[in-house]
């Protein structure tokens, strides 16, 4: 929801980044305020996941220009784990498997680590078990997932739910959801969307990367952005998503080009 005079959570200005010498982000601008829900759409390979991972601090990407402020702080001064503790959460498009590490232990470590850095109480294993089971209920996840290795052998949809479970636990200030809806069946989509909606409040913000309007029926965005070739080329409200669904992306690029030619 858009609140008047709400504080800026994320301010991206002219962000340029490359991987292995190839420029992928080419001057990206985005402002996200507390309480808002943003959707980023755009063709495959336009740089949506790259952008998400750069916000989270992945070392494979080199930032070559621009600035990113998070809650008034230079994001690039923070290590990836510091960003997470400060409230940047990324639900991965492809959550990685960690064989041998038991999910419940991993979840408790992440929870307690983040709590400690926020000067909040840690939970002992028994307390945590109660806590996490409660959260899992909301996501209609079986407690069996606690005893398995992190993401190992999880189906695509199960991995996504495990991501949202962590989001629910960690109570982020900025949640970036990279195609969390992909691979979810119809029921799961509704359940996951519920989980996200529970998080959404006036103190935090959500940036969702998605290809489908369907998700936006459940989580209604305040802004819809179109990303192409490493930049946000158009921003609208939720109607824009419907239009994209009906007409595809080509017209946006064409319109954009025409506009810049007219300006020149």
């Amino acid at each position: 929801m858009i609140y008047p005079d709400s504080k800026i959570v994320l301010e991206v200005r002219g962000l340029c980044a490359s991987v292995n010498g190839t420029e992928i982000l080419k001057g990206l601008d985005l402002t996200v305020r507390r309480g808002e829900v943003h959707a980023i759409m755009g063709p495959n390979g336009s740089g949506k996941s790259t952008f998400s991972k750069i916000l989270a601090g992945h070392s494979a990407y080199e930032v070559t220009g621009g600035t990113v402020m998070f809650e008034g702080q230079n994001l690039f001064d923070m290590e990836p784990e510091e960003r997470a503790r400060a409230g940047v959460f990324l639900a991965f498009q492809y959550p990685i498997e960690i064989p041998g590490v038991i999910n419940s232990q991993f979840l408790r470590l992440t929870y307690n680590t983040v709590q400690t850095h926020r000067d909040k109480e840690e939970l002992d294993p028994l307390e945590f078990d109660d806590y996490v089971r409660e959260k899992m209920k909301l996501l209609e996840m079986s407690p069996d997932f606690l005893e398995r290795s992190v993401n190992e052998g999880f189906s695509g949809g199960e991995k996504k739910r495990n991501e949202i479970l962590q989001m629910a636990m960690l109570d982020p200030r900025l949640a970036i959801l990279d195609e969390t809806d992909s691979g979810l069946d119809i029921d799961a989509l509704r359940i996951v969307a519920n989980g996200v909606n529970q998080l959404a409040g006036k103190d935090n913000a959500i940036v969702m990367v998605t290809h489908y309007q369907r998700l936006l029926n459940y989580i209604v965005p305040d802004y819809v952005h179109v990303m192409e070739a490493g930049r946000i080329i158009k921003t609208g409200d939720k109607e824009l998503a419907l239009e994209l669904e009906a007409r595809g992306y080509d017209w946006v690029g064409a319109e954009c080009k025409a506009a810049s030619e007219a300006a020149a």
Binding site: H58, P80, E81, A84, I98, V101, F106, L109
Partner: protein, 478 residues
């Protein structure tokens, strides 16, 4: 991220210090007279001197093995001092009588002896350099007829038992280092569990190499009579010397009918510095003879130290239905080299063996698993299950697996599984994205990897091992 990880792995050796207890050190070099001197100093019976001299004769004719996948400059055996004993009264009745300097040594190790004993009810036979200086809980053990003492004491007080079993599992001609040990061993532990007795506590020995350039040749013998059982813990650390120290121990286990011996090791000797200078050469021969029916020999080891490790705790499954187990975690970092594994020799009918080996290699280290499963024609119905997993940390380390399987009958079952994995940047990024730094992440991944082995360790040892591994490895991904 890589840089942090490198820093973490490069923490200096915490246990690096030399205590100043005055040593009684033999001049360098080895000949028959050195052996006579050792034997005389220890007031040994004639048969033992003969055992030593025969072993020495055999050793002279043997070649240093070159087949392990390890590399080091040739050892000059005449440059080693073969005897070193702290000057103090050997028999102590309580901890109060122990040299306070020694107690401080243990404190520096982070394992205060008294605390450890109080906490765990562990009887500790302290080996400091080569002579045992304190033996505790002896009375309590004596009540049930258990003998737990230094090898030297056993030779004096129970010569018939020592003579009956010494060298019966590992003959002095077994290999180059076993022969050397048989010739010059100075001390070690002896443990005898009489018929039907379940040892009421874990028995523990802390080994510690203390005198620079003094070879360590410990000799341990554990005998479990019919229906007896014992769990034995061996742990060790050493000071940070820059010249290599040879350590060639021999451990023999004998389990009679229905007896059960569990032998656990956490090894943390000085591994050399981050450039590979210094560190212990650990060339150990360990073997258990499951002599009786339904007997069981179980080895669990967590190997983190030494510049070079060459070690294959093995089981000879002679009794029908006997069981052999080998659970191992071997960690190498920097320029460490480890060639370790086991031999399971199935002779009796329906004998069973399990091998679980976890090798972790970081830095520029090399870690090899070498295992032999041999099923004799007589071992009908034998079964073996082997699982060998390697984990690579960083880009410059090596993991190798050399399984040898020889089956001489057609009604046995041998299974071998192997895997190699790597701690990836993307895994660490996932942890970081959830607030967990690389140090804690590596620790968690490694502990998950080693879980099957740690589960086999006695409780307080498992805690120690977990901490040790974190200390050795945290942050070694590049």
């Amino acid at each position: 991220m890589s840089a942090t990880l490198q820093n973490l792995v490069n923490q200096p050796y915490k246990h690096g210090f030399v205590t100043s207890i005055e040593s009684d050190v033999a001049p360098k070099g080895l000949n028959a007279d050195t052996i006579r001197m050792i034997s005389a100093k220890k007031k040994e019976p004639e048969w033992l001197l003969e055992f030593r001299l025969k072993s020495y004769e055999a050793w002279l004719k043997m070649e240093e093995p070159t087949w392990p996948n390890v590399h080091y400059p040739k050892i000059d055996f005449q440059e080693i001092s073969y005897y070193s004993a702290p000057k103090q009264k050997p028999k102590l009745k309580s901890m109060d009588e122990v040299d306070p300097e020694l107690l401080r040594t243990f404190e520096k190790l982070g394992v205060p002896l008294h605390e450890r004993m109080a906490l765990a009810g562990v009887a500790v036979d302290v080996i400091f350099d080569s002579v045992s200086v304190a033996t505790t809980y002896k009375d309590k053990l004596a009540e049930v007829g258990i003998i737990f003492c230094s090898m030297s004491e056993a030779v004096q007080d129970h010569p018939e038992l020592v003579q009956k079993y010494l060298g019966t599992v590992i003959p002095s001609t077994d290999n180059f280092y076993a022969a050397l040990n048989s010739a010059v061993f100075t001390d070690g532990s002896f443990c005898y569990i009489p018929k039907g007795v379940k040892c009421p506590m874990d028995l523990s020995t802390y080994f510690r190499i203390n005198t620079e350039e003094s070879g360590q040749f410990e000799r341990t013998l554990i005998v479990a009579e019919e229906g007896a059982s014992v769990s034995y813990l061996e742990g060790c650390t050493a000071p940070a010397f820059s010249s290599n120290q040879l350590h060639a121990a021999v451990v023999e286990l004998v389990a009679l009918d229905n007896a059960d011996i569990k032998y656990s090791t956490v090894q943390n000797w000085y591994a050399g510095d981050e450039k590979g200078v210094g560190g212990i050469y650990n060339f150990v021969t360990k073997r258990g003879l499951a002599k009786g029916v339904n007997s069981r020999i179980s080895w669990t080891q967590v190997e983190t130290g030494s510049a070079i490790t060459w070690k294959y705790p093995s089981c000879v499954l002679l009794g029908d239905n006997s069981v052999g187990e080998f659970y191992s975690v071997a960690v190498t970092n920097h320029y460490q080299q480890a060639d370790t594994g086991t031999k399971m020799i199935h002779i009796g009918k329906n004998t069973r063996s399990t091998i679980v080996s976890k090798g972790i290699s970081a830095g520029h280290s090399n870690n090899s698993y070498r295992g032999l499963v041999k099923v004799a024609p007589s071992a009908t119905g034998a079964r073996n299950y082997s699982q060998c997993d390697s984990m690579l940390v960083g880009h410059h380390s090596g993991a190798h697996t050399f399984p040898y399987i020889q089956v001489a009958n057609n009604c046995s079952q041998v299974e071998h599984e192997a895997s190699t994995s790597k701690i990836g940047e993307d895994q660490l990024f996932y942890f970081a994205q959830r607030g967990i730094d690389a140090e804690a992440a590596v620790s968690m991944i490694i502990n998950g990897f080693c879980k099957d082995v740690f589960q086999q360790l006695p409780m307080e040892f498992a805690v120690e091992a977990t901490a040790l591994l974190s200390f050795k490895l945290e942050g070694s991904v590049g």
